[in-house]
């Protein structure tokens, strides 16, 4: 294997990427845009729950209850209404997601030690938000009830929960590390998938395979620049995540770099493989690249949606996607400070996946036209 030829190919690819505005946009702009979208725009945290209140009691106790909701910071009081039709109007028009109705005998019941029912209507069309809102309502109500009730109710068990690794449950901390896997998968695979197909379309591939170049030399030469770009994107994503979004990086950064490189190698090889298989069509190649990297990385890697919540058959399927292992690694290193002792299994899987794809690509690259 001649290093000279590999160098010539890598250099040529680099020049071509540099001179192609589309490649540059995908390589540099796409990751940044994705980071900003996911970092700022997408959040699972529920705030500003618009609420209307129908206070039939209008006593100091009822007002205190309403104040509890306001002060929690999660609910935004939009209006006070005085009939049920108005409640319907607000919920239907999306001006409010929650409606609290305090019955006229609320304070009387509270004072006489009888259970007082407060009716809470929640807009369930966004079930995620609805569930969380419901939880907040229950918690606030319970706390209020415990304060007001003269008869103290001693609980048999007093659960005190602490959330490890992400105590504020900031969804950003949970999204960004996994996002790095998505960015690298999609951007790198997309870029790389065009490389061989483009040469076939332009006719230069025929020229290339008429030279003594070996498939392994051709592939390594093509991999190198895209690996470098992917590496750069990874560093960028980590930097933005840590400095701009404040995602903690509790683990060893060297471990992060090493394991990311292994994943990157696999992803770039996969892109080249797609390019070889899709042979003469850049458009087909790019479509395959997006479908086979974006969908798994997005939906099946544990990036946004927990794998353990998925139906069993789907959980089994996720094992074939390298992105799954990488997301575990990323969350581990960023949030848990995990070391190699904990992540070696994932590391091995990534390495194996990369090696398989790489050798498959070499085998599939025939130096023949047919």
């Amino acid at each position: 294997m001649r290093f000279l030829r590999i160098k010539a190919i890598a250099k040529k690819e680099l020049i071509q990427i540099w001179r192609d505005p589309l490649s540059l946009i995908i390589a540099l702009l796409m990751p940044v845009i994705q980071l900003f979208i996911y970092g700022y725009a997408i959040t699972f945290d529920v705030n500003n729950i618009t609420t209307v209140v129908y206070d039939q009691d209008k006593s100091s106790l009822s007002r205190e209850l309403v104040a509890q909701f306001k002060e929690s910071g999660y609910f935004t009081l939009v209006a006070y209404v005085d009939n049920y039709d108005d409640i319907d109007a607000y919920l239907d028009s999306n001006r409010a997601r929650v409606a609290i109705t305090i019955p006229y005998d609320f304070s009387k019941k509270m004072r006489t030690g009888n259970p007082a029912h407060v009716e809470v209507i929640i807009d369930g069309s966004d079930s995620n938000t609805a569930t969380i809102a419901e939880g907040y309502v229950a918690a606030i109500s319970l706390r209020y009830a415990q304060r007001i009730t003269t008869r103290t109710v001693l609980p048999v068990m007093d659960p005190r929960t602490r959330v490890w690794f992400n105590p504020e449950l900031k969804s950003r901390n949970f999204i960004i590390p996994g996002l790095i896997a998505v960015i690298m998968s999609v951007v790198v695979a997309l870029l790389t998938s065009l490389t061989v197909a483009r040469e076939w379309e332009r006719g230069t591939m025929e020229q290339l395979i008429s030279t003594p170049v070996k498939p392994s030399e051709l592939i390594i030469g093509k991999l190198a620049p895209y690996f470098a770009i992917g590496f750069m994107d990874m560093v960028l994503a980590v930097l933005v995540g840590v400095t701009l979004f404040g995602v903690p990086l509790r683990g060893d950064i060297v471990l992060l770099v090493v394991l990311s490189s292994v994943f990157l190698f696999g992803t770039v090889s996969f892109g080249v493989l797609i390019s070889i298989i899709a042979k003469r069509s850049q458009s087909v190649a790019s479509q395959i690249a997006i479908l086979s990297t974006m969908l798994p990385a997005f939906l099946l890697s544990g990036f946004l949606f927990a794998i353990s919540n998925m139906p069993k058959p789907l959980q089994v399927i996720t094992y074939i996607f390298p992105a799954r292992y990488f997301v575990t690694i990323l969350k581990g290193v960023f949030l848990k400070g995990s070391t190699l002792t904990l992540l070696w299994k994932e590391g091995i899987m990534l390495a194996m996946a990369g090696a398989i794809v790489f050798f498959l690509a070499i085998r599939k690259l025939h130096k023949r036209i047919d």
Binding site: A8, Q16, E206, S210, P212, K367, R368, I369
Partner: protein, 307 residues
């Protein structure tokens, strides 16, 4: 290489499904020869050349190129040849210099020779002043010569050129053939495919290919003498298309060549008389009829009709 032939193949055949693109071709090309492969589009020229270069595996056939087997030694063949494909296959987004440097690397041109070969190629292609121009911006003639240069950076003993003069102006074509002569003179074997019949005369030997088969082979002179048992009359006439129609209806072998008609006849005197009487009785005036030397195109057209 012990053998005297640069390329020696027998029964070269290539099928694509049911379609037989190349049907049992035999070739024997000596070192330093300029061998032309002529035929219309779709005749099988490109397919043949790709098999010889190791780019396509023959369906059937045996032989060798540069001493290496065409069935099992494609990678070895590639080390000793230069190939210029039909589309000139240069990188349009790289500059002239970058292309040369790239192919130098690919063909393994030795470090010491690189600068020399770069300068030689630039001079040969007339691109010394344009070395930093992006190839996509170059006119066709320059691209053609640059592509040739890139194919011979490593000074291979055998060169395969697939329609190297397609779409290039006549002056550039002439210059290109001068280059080929120079190379043949220094011992390089050149295998060229073309559909321009007038380029046939530039070759030492040629083969005419039609529908995958070789229908004639020999030097340009051979082909004219051997295959043209008849004579060609050139006719200048006013209503050419009508005249063609009339002559064909009378069973004559006629074809349009530019603004004139060529008719192939067994006997010159009789032929002239027949043609004149036929056309004049249909009220078409004949400006002139004379015998001309058959061009290779005439040869080819005749052969195809026989095939």
């Amino acid at each position: 290489m012990n053998q005297t032939s640069a390329v020696k193949v027998e029964g070269l055949t290539r099928r694509f499904g049911d379609f037989v693109a190349v049907d049992g071709i035999d070739l024997d090309i000596g070192r330093g020869e300029i061998f032309g492969f002529l035929g219309p589009n779709g005749a099988g020229k490109s397919t043949t050349i790709k098999m010889l270069c190791g780019l396509l595996l023959p369906s059937i056939g045996k032989g060798s190129v540069g001493g290496h087997d065409i069935m099992t030694g494609s990678e070895e063949i590639k080390k000793n040849i230069g190939y210029m494909s039909q589309k000139f296959s240069l990188y349009d987004d790289l500059t002239v210099k970058e292309n040369i440097r790239f192919f130098s690397g690919m063909y393994g041109v030795r470090r010491e020779k690189r600068k020399e070969r770069m300068e030689w190629t630039l001079e040969m292609a007339g691109l010394e002043e344009k070395r930093d121009v992006v190839v996509g911006d170059l006119p066709g003639g320059f691209k053609q010569r640059l592509a040739l240069g890139c194919a011979i950076l490593h000074e291979p003993p055998i060169l395969f050129l697939d329609e190297p003069t397609s779409g290039v102006d006549p002056i550039s074509r002439r210059n290109f053939w001068n280059l080929i002569y120079e190379m043949s003179g220094s011992g390089t074997t050149v295998f060229v495919t073309t559909h321009y019949m007038d380029e046939a005369d530039y070759c030492h030997r040629l083969a005419l290919i039609y529908r995958g088969k070789i229908i004639a082979e020999g030097t340009p002179m051979d082909l004219r003498e051997r295959y043209m048992k008849r004579y060609v009359l050139e006719i200048g006439v006013e209503r050419m298309v009508e005249a063609l129609d009339i002559l064909e209806k009378k069973g004559m072998d006629a074809a349009i060549f530019g603004s004139l008609l060529h008719v192939t006849v067994e006997d010159v005197k009789q032929g002239i008389a027949d043609i004149r009487s036929t056309l004049e009785s249909s009220d078409i005036q004949v400006d002139r009829i004379e015998r001309i030397a058959p061009s290779l195109e005439d040869v080819f057209v005749t052969l195809i009709e026989v095939a």
